[in-house]
């Protein structure tokens, strides 16, 4: 069943009446296609849980609408929405056995006993806990508890399955394993699923679409790879990817992009101060390369190794670039290493708004401009670098969604800045 959110907003009033309100979710507008797994991603406190609770009906929205399929469920109480919700800490009833926990939602529906038992066993088999039915939650491992919680959510065949950071209590290995399992279960049941997490890797690895949020505002919605390859602003670029993107202070002058004093490439845009983000895998070691940084160390991690270096123009304390392990690095007499940059791994952002700038696009008509989305080929020869201006020159038109998203984001951000300014007064 598809889920449609229309301008969904949640404002928490302050308790002590000092007039300060929290906009936990701001104008969330999105249609979640049927049977897809959506990763809701963002830092702590950005409104992920709030969104989830509004969809489930546990929290009442301040404004906006929610549709399940074609039904308006905006004012339907939680118990009538038929959602399955897995809480962050599972909320398994501690006094009931696994079986009783899973049965509980069905007993509410006054289902015949035989059918209940059959469905409980089915759900338990699906999440592979059929051996554990007679245990109490306290006698289970974290991963097992989590699967029980999923079984309890699935057993009533929900319209929508909502998972609130279900893996945050698990250790790294179990987390890896269970997220695959969630993916498998979602594929098996084909239930529309929203999965909340603040771990970008988790979201990227199992979601069909990811939604990146910041301070209640949706930043970008797209397939994980596309968001990674084509972030709409500095926040999204920084949020996705391990190791994280390297950020430099730079400028555009005479249609040329500079980092520090070094000419990086042609960039057809108005003159301005910018941030330049370069993905760690976007560096190519080349003694005549366009970017020089001070070599610090090299960390070898099997197939790849990372070169750690420093630069005065860097926003981050160190620059981390990933190169082949067998590549020889020879810092020059000043201890500098030189890199060429893969054009599809470099992103330019306005210094003030932190919005993505695209070459060949003037700021004044940015909103109508198509956004590039397909990356250029992976292998780029070093000679090409200076010529290729930006990923945006790749002749592929962006999907509409990204474009519209970008506009709304722009507007809200603008609004936010004025609001912040007011608050500072």
């Amino acid at each position: 069943m598809k889920v449609v959110l229309k301008n969904l907003t949640k404002i928490f009033q302050s308790r002590n009446g000092n007039g300060k309100e929290v906009i936990a979710v701001n104008n969330f507008d999105f249609e979640i296609p049927d049977g897809k797994l959506i990763g809701l991603l963002g830092p702590s406190g950005c409104g992920k849980s709030t969104t989830l609770f509004m969809i489930s009906g546990l929290l009442k929205q301040s404004s906006g609408q929610i549709f399940f399929g074609d039904d308006d469920v905006t004012n339907l109480p939680a118990e009538k929405r038929g959602v399955g919700l897995v809480f962050q800490n599972y909320a398994l009833y501690p006094h009931m056995t696994v079986k009783q926990n899973i049965m509980f939602p069905l007993q509410n529906q006054k289902m015949p006993k035989a059918e209940i038992m059959q469905r409980v066993v089915e759900a338990a088999k699906l999440v592979q806990i059929d051996e554990l039915l007679d245990r109490k939650p306290s006698e289970l491992s974290g991963g097992q508890q989590q699967r029980v919680a999923i079984a309890r959510a699935l057993v009533k065949s929900p319209n929508v399955l909502l998972l609130d950071e279900p893996l945050s209590n698990l250790d790294a290995r179990l987390r890896l394993q269970t997220r695959e399992e969630i993916r498998r279960i979602q594929r098996d049941t084909n239930v529309t699923t929203i999965f909340v997490t603040h771990d970008q890797e988790e979201a990227m690895s199992i979601s069909d679409l990811i939604v990146v949020m910041k301070l209640g505002v949706v930043q970008q919605i797209d397939e994980p790879q596309k968001v990674y390859d084509n972030p709409v602003n500095l926040f999204v670029a920084k949020f996705l990817g391990t190791p994280p993107i390297n950020v430099f202070r730079g400028k555009i002058e005479n249609k040329t992009l500079y980092i520090g004093d070094e000419k990086i490439m042609k960039f057809d845009h108005d003159d301005q101060e910018v941030y330049v983000g370069i993905r760690p895998e976007g560096f190519i070691v080349n003694d005549k390369g366009v970017l020089s940084t001070k070599f610090v160390s090299r960390e070898v991690m099997g197939r790849d190794s990372s070169v750690v270096s420093k630069s005065d123009a860097s926003e981050t304390p160190i620059i981390r670039s990933i190169v082949d392990s067998d590549k020889v690095i020879n810092p020059d007499e000043n201890g500098m290493v030189h890199f060429d940059i893969k054009p599809n791994k470099i992103f330019v952002f306005n210094r003030e708004t932190e919005e993505r700038l695209l070459s060949g696009v003037n700021t004044k008509n940015a909103e109508e401009a198509p956004v590039a989305e397909t990356p250029v080929e992976e292998t780029v020869t070093t000679e090409e670098i200076p010529e290729v201006v930006d990923a945006s020159e790749a002749p592929v038109e962006a999907p509409k969604k990204t474009t519209t998203k970008k506009t709304t984001t722009k507007k809200t951000v603008a609004k936010k800045t004025t609001k912040n300014a007011e608050e500072e007064k």
Binding site: L58, E79, V83, F87, N89, Y93, H95, F104, N108, Q109
Partner: protein
């Protein structure tokens, strides 16, 4: 860890408390046991150096005493009636209090007031509320013709052939309320009038005591249960709501089990308190503890005090130990049952 050389310091700091405990708790307990097995013990004579033979005479005396069965039944009856009622009401009130946001704190304080008010004072207020003042003499014919609706007692005919009788009068709020609905005032607490020979019925006495004890026991229980409720993770309720659980089912299947440790505690302490019921009865009925004879509300603790008053230290001690035994058994049963039902 305290250094063993320093341990004497620790003990030194504990000493004041230990001395008080020894003098006022440990010694009396041991002495009670000692006295209970000395036959015919008299304190004054004992100080004078008289020796008493060991034996179980005090116990047999207590058990064979006719009034002791009354004490036992009264105590048991009060326990059995008040503990379930008060626990259930406390549960209800605390669940309601817990779901109120605005006036919750104020109401909590109000509900807690009985706990900090003196038992005897409350008893006197209750005596007022349940009071019946006396009988008013009325002319039967006149009373009936003016629409009198209450029972006329002790009707007699005077020399002129006129019929006279007595109608109960009350200013106690409970009886006034009853009268509002046209119900006869009831002699609740053996106060005034000589309806039916002047004494109140056993049922009326017990009813008053049950109301009083329940009301008096509520604050403590509410306090404990409310604390328990507030520590229950709200997500259980959210989960239940998502699953479409009705309120009643949520209460019985989630709230009660999650509260069961506190409920067990409240029930056990309720029984212990019930078995020690005494001062409240004195507060309402006076030292006579209700009408003499069948209607008496004498309890085990009351019996112990009476024995002390008459210098029968031996029987008092024996009765205390019997009471201790009863409470122990009941508590053990409680613990056994709760070990099956309580989810920690």
């Amino acid at each position: 860890m305290v250094d063993s050389k320093q341990q004497w310091k620790a003990w030194l700091y504990l000493l004041p408390a230990l001395i008080l405990l020894a003098v006022f708790t440990v010694y009396p307990i041991i002495n009670t046991v000692r006295i209970s097995i000395l036959e015919g013990y008299k304190p004054l004579a004992a100080i004078g150096g008289e020796r008493y033979p060991l034996g179980i005479g005090n116990f047999t005396k207590v058990i064979s005493y006719k009034g002791f069965t009354t004490c036992l039944t009264n105590t048991l009856l009060l326990c059995v009636l008040t503990v379930p009622i008060s626990c259930f009401l406390a549960l209800l009130v605390s669940v309601c209090l817990n779901s109120i946001n605005r006036l919750g704190k104020v109401l909590q304080t109000i509900y807690f007031l009985p706990y900090v008010t003196n038992t005897i004072a409350i008893g006197m207020v209750f005596a007022m509320m349940f009071n019946i003042v006396g009988l008013k003499q009325v002319n039967v014919a006149e009373y009936l013709s003016t629409g009198g609706q209450y029972t006329i007692y002790n009707i007699y005919t005077d020399v002129n052939g006129e019929k006279w009788g007595f109608v109960a009068q009350s200013w106690g709020i409970i009886n006034n309320l009853l009268q509002l609905f046209g119900i006869n005032p009831v002699n609740w607490i053996n106060s005034g009038g000589n309806i039916n020979g002047g004494s109140s019925t056993y049922v009326a006495n017990i009813a008053v005591m049950v109301v009083y004890i329940v009301w008096n026991a509520l604050p403590f229980k509410i306090l404990i249960l409310l604390g328990g409720l507030q520590s229950v993770n709200k997500q259980y309720y959210d989960a239940a709501k998502i699953d479409g659980t009705s309120r009643v089912r949520t209460f019985w299947r989630i709230t009660v089990p999650l509260l069961s440790p506190m409920l067990a505690y409240v029930i056990i302490t309720g029984f212990i308190g019930g078995f020690k019921e005494y001062s409240s009865i004195v507060g309402i009925f006076g030292e006579g503890m209700g009408p003499s004879g069948n209607g008496s509300l004498q309890t085990i603790v009351g019996y112990i005090y009476d024995a002390l008053k008459t210098d029968s230290y031996g029987t008092a001690s024996a009765a205390s130990l019997i009471l201790f035994g009863i409470i122990l058994i009941v508590t053990l049963i409680n613990l056994y049952v709760s070990s099956k039902k309580v989810h920690y």
